[in-house]
């Protein structure tokens, strides 16, 4: 550090000390939550690889090579090739994008829709019955069946897959938000806010929503994990993403006929899918512990 004038020199030690204290606290916090850190590292790794797919992919993920069908892993094809001779490494890298986009979008959409409907059910007496009966109806249908049915009536595309996976997830969030809202509306600070003349939308935004962020974030991560699995499953069943979008589910579906001769065609997409879902679940679990209001005081 170069000293330019006396004034900053006296301020600098205090700043570095504060910085040191803060980073020490951060290190301590990180050591306390190993699953969160592990999950986050894994997730960042997968996300980084998918984002970098255009640069690290060795081949065009759709390029056919009839001469190198079902080739085992080698220097030219680190993960081998599939039944059409497509390079699996490149496909797996590109395939992560589909999973991550689906996971993230579904989590955001399902949570937002769930929050809106759940708050309506929890705070507007007249909406409660209608919303909750609708949600009960949705919950009565198995998620996968509902998603398949929705896919069956629409044309396969990224958007329709996302919608088809989001719809069955919404009732979960609605129930969570409604139950949280019912307990929060009885909180005295909500009553106090009303006694101060606060309008309902402001109460919801300022006093109710911030107090349900933690369970919502945790729920959203689990929805993201479920969404990725469901996307893979739909693609595996052939009612998911269109073939021109590489997806781990499609790859596993393509490879399953050749498991006996080319195990790698299923192994690598499967490994990546498992690792991604695991990482998201770890993050969710870790967040639940880390954001627990009883433990987060020193945050």
């Amino acid at each position: 550090m170069t000293m330019t004038s006396p004034a900053p020199a006296s301020a600098a030690p205090a700043a570095t000390e504060r910085h040191a204290r803060r980073s020490a606290r951060r290190r301590r916090w990180m050591r306390k939550h190993p699953p969160l850190i592990l999950g986050a590292v894994l997730l960042v790794l997968v996300a980084g690889l998918s984002l970098a797919a255009p640069w690290i992919a060795t081949h065009d993920p759709q390029a056919l090579d009839p001469l190198a069908r079902l080739a085992p892993p080698s220097a030219a094809h680190p993960f081998g090739t599939d039944a059409l001779g497509r390079d699996l490494f490149s496909r797996v890298m590109w395939g992560g994008r589909a999973s991550l986009v689906v996971g993230l979008t579904v989590a955001v959409l399902a949570t937002s829709a769930g929050v809106l409907l759940g708050l309506a059910a929890g705070f507007v007496r007249r909406a409660d019955g209608l919303v909750m009966r609708l949600m009960d109806g949705l919950m009565a249908i198995p998620d996968i069946l509902l998603a398949i049915a929705l896919m069956a009536v629409t044309r396969a595309s990224l958007t329709t897959v996302i919608v088809a996976i989001t719809v069955p997830q919404v009732p979960r969030v609605v129930r969570l938000v409604r139950s949280l809202a019912l307990s929060l509306r009885e909180q005295q600070y909500v009553e106090a806010a009303r006694a101060l003349g606060t309008r309902l939308p402001v109460i919801l935004w300022r006093h109710v929503l911030p107090n349900m962020v933690t369970p919502l974030v945790v729920q959203a991560t689990f929805i993201a994990a479920t969404a990725m699995l469901t996307e893979a499953l739909l693609s595996f069943l052939g009612v998911g993403l269109p073939p021109q979008i590489p997806s781990w589910g499609t790859m596993m579906a393509d490879g399953r006929n050749f498991v006996a001769v080319a195990f790698h065609a299923v192994l690598f997409p499967g490994l990546f899918l498992a690792a991604t879902v695991l990482s998201v679940n770890l993050v969710g679990d870790g967040l639940r512990d880390a954001l627990d209001p009883r433990l987060s005081r020193q945050l």
């Binding site: 005295q188 106090a192 006694a195 101060l196 003349g197 606060t198 300022r206």
Partner: protein
């Protein structure tokens, strides 16, 4: 202490708060619950009115009725009016009512632990209360919050404003609640058991703070409590409620000197005193009847040592309001100033 006579409108101004024959009922599947059944009281500016009674006697419902904070349904205003500076609050729209809440009538609650939003700093909460009713900038609102914290005697208000409720003690949080309630300088403050959840030394501090602030800001205070000690300490006049009705009203001095209603006397007898020596405190046998179980006659009659046949048959009217010391009891002839014989614990119970 002076007793403002009920007709004390020298300037011809309407009283600050004038509740007339208020009836707040709740429609439940088991029938109508008459939580407040014909209560009247009035309050002038700069005056403190105590509302005393056991749990479930309708004190809080009356207060919540004033702010119209009860969910309707099940609550229903079956009659009466609540005039605030001359305007009938029951006739206002929800929108007009919002403009009064927090701005001209404020309320502080019993539990300082749960009355503040845990995820917002206290300064932010106060600043937001200010911006609800006044068009001022963020920075000014924040300054106002700091100023309010200083007003409620919180040390180092600049730093404290940036803290979260969980970083404060119960007494401090109640101070913050008071700052929050008074941020817009309301004309009327309703304090619903403001000291019940605090320990005794803090109670005294909070009551003194309220008295100070009243002198500074000149608001009227309705002090809801079940603690006659609080009443003695800070009220000018007292309304004693029982089972949704007003049973006695007097100035504090009058009430403590010559309580008329057997219920009031029983309440006083159940207070520990410094003169008395040890032993078990007197208790009032039985419980406040559930409002849906009220039959005819005086609601206190089943627990009253002076009850007669007439008490069980007819409901006594509230009499003597003009003298400044009114009571609703057949047996409370002022001349008959005898100690109420209470059922000492060991003795026979009815």
């Amino acid at each position: 202490m002076t007793v403002p006579s009920p007709q004390a409108d020298q300037a011809g101004r309407p009283p600050l708060l004038d509740i007339r024959d208020l009836r707040t009922h709740f429609d439940t599947p088991d029938g109508t619950v008459r939580s407040v059944d014909g209560v009247s009281y009035r309050l002038e500016a700069r005056e403190t009115l105590g509302i005393v009674g056991e749990s479930g006697c309708g004190k809080s419902v009356t207060a919540l009725s004033v702010l119209r904070l009860l969910p309707t349904p099940p609550a229903r205003f079956a009659g009466g009016e609540i005039r605030f500076q001359g305007t009938d609050l029951l006739g206002l729209s929800e929108r007009e009512m919002r403009r009064i809440r927090g701005n001209r009538i404020s309320m502080i609650f019993q539990e300082p632990m749960t009355s503040l939003n845990p995820v917002l700093t206290v300064g932010r909460q106060i600043a937001e209360a200010v911006t609800l009713h006044q068009k001022i900038g963020r920075r000014q609102a924040w300054q106002r919050a700091v100023e309010m914290l200083r007003l409620v005697q919180i040390a180092d208000p600049e730093r404290r404003a940036g803290e979260y409720p969980h970083q404060m003690s119960g007494g401090m949080r109640q101070r913050v609640m008071i700052a929050l309630a008074l941020a817009c300088h309301p004309d009327l403050l309703i304090a619903d058991e403001p000291t019940t959840a605090l320990d005794v030394t803090i109670q005294a501090q909070i009551l003194e703070l309220l008295r100070d602030l009243q002198a500074k800001l000149g608001m009227g205070i309705v002090m809801i409590t079940h603690d006659l000690g609080v009443v003695a300490e800070c009220c000018d006049r007292v309304v004693v409620m029982y089972a949704g009705r007003k049973v006695e009203e007097a100035s504090v001095a009058d009430l403590f000197e010559r309580p008329l209603h057997p219920y009031t006397r029983a309440l006083m007898a159940s207070m520990p005193s410094l003169q008395g020596r040890g032993g078990r405190l007197a208790e009032i046998p039985g419980m406040v009847p559930a409002p849906q179980e009220l039959g005819t006659g005086c609601a206190f009659a089943p627990r009253c040592p002076l009850a007669t046949e007439r008490c069980r048959r007819e409901t006594p009217d509230f009499t003597g309001a003009a003298t400044g010391h009114g009571v609703a009891c057949f047996e409370a002839a002022p001349a008959r100033h005898q100690p109420v014989v209470l059922h000492r614990h060991a003795g026979a119970r009815p």
